[in-house]
């Protein structure tokens, strides 16, 4: 006997009740539960749906789906880190590397012309901050709206958002501080070069994470899950 549509819905609800909020993970668990319930019915047709479900859920152990969810998050995190790194490295090939070097050089020249690192670099950092906050806001808002409309959350999106590069944010701030400490009234060539390099690399990292990777991951999810395409 095959499960009916409303029983499948009940399984989705059951996974939600047991702290699996994400549709990509829910659907795999729902299929697993559905298969095992159907097999149980072959052996014992008298079992009710709920009885069979409870018996099958017990097989996941006392932590239920928690282990599966936790491990999934961990591995997805690793996967994103690797993809981000891969695309980041791509910038260090021609012709993108010329663009990167060009931006570094332009920033350095500007600093030399103005004979200033601290205020200039602080402004650049500020601009990076404002632009990236705006981009992040746009992405997360679109996610929230989609969640609301479809009732589906995607673990891959959540993991992509929490993948954390913010500790690195302190680095450029330190550079700017450093340039103040070094500079006094004098402009320092070493600090200017170092700062320009770090700021451009930092901007690039944010760009890759929010513009390139997010798009790539959405495309990949769309390829795997037709549902994701539809709800986009």
């Amino acid at each position: 006997m095959k499960l009916k549509e409303q029983q499948i819905d009940r399984l989705y609800q059951f996974t939600r009740q047991h702290f699996v909020e994400w549709y990509d993970l829910q659907s795999e668990l729902v299929d697993h539960l559905a298969n095992s319930i159907e097999d149980r019915w072959k052996e014992n047709p008298k079992l009710t749906f709920e009885e069979a479900l409870q018996l099958e859920f017990k097989k996941f152990g006392i932590f239920g789906f928690m282990d599966v969810v936790e491990e999934r998050q961990k591995f997805l995190g690793k996967k994103y880190a690797r993809i981000i790194w891969k695309y980041y490295k791509e910038f260090f090939r021609l012709p993108k590397i010329l663009l990167t070097l060009g931006a570094m050089y332009a920033l350095y020249i500007l600093s030399e012309t103005l004979q200033d690192t601290q205020i200039l670099y602080l402004c650049v950092l500020g601009i990076i901050g404002v632009v990236s906050s705006f981009e992040i806001y746009k992405v997360t808002k679109a996610q929230r709206l989609r969640e609301k409309a479809t009732g589906k959350k995607w673990l891959f999106e959540q993991t992509a958002s929490i993948f954390d590069i913010y500790p690195i944010t302190f680095l450029p701030v330190q550079i700017v501080n450093l340039s103040g400490a070094f500079g006094d009234a004098n402009w320092n060539r070493g600090t200017a070069i170092f700062g320009a390099v770090i700021l451009v690399l930092f901007a690039l990292l944010l760009y890759v994470q929010w513009k390139v990777i997010h798009k790539k991951m959405s495309e990949e999810m769309g390829r795997i899950y037709p549902e994701y395409e539809i709800s986009k």
């Binding site: 795999e28 299929d31 697993h32 097989k59 996941f60 282990d67 999934r72 591995f75």
Partner: protein, 111 residues
Amino acid sequence: MKNSQLYKGSLNTIIMKLLGENGRMYGYEITQKVKEITKGELNITEGALYPALHKLEAEELLDVEVEKVDNRLRKYYKLTESGQTETVNRLAELEEFIKNMQSIVNPKLSY
């Protein structure tokens, strides 16, 4: 899983070997196949299977396809190219391990 400590280290290899033989499979199918081959002796638990599958997927040894079957979504796993190469390596390692264990456990049989 029966004797879980002994089997644990080989779970990934078991999964990859099965996928190598059967093309693409979904999670539940893998547990049933293992049960069938070992005549019920080896029972892969759900709590071990999915983390293992997801880990192999994250390592890009497995690729996934999702299809709608019987009014629900089914996620199939299959070996990627690097997964196929890795399966050969891991099976060779496992065989080596079995051989060594055999020499230790039953020295008379080894040659």
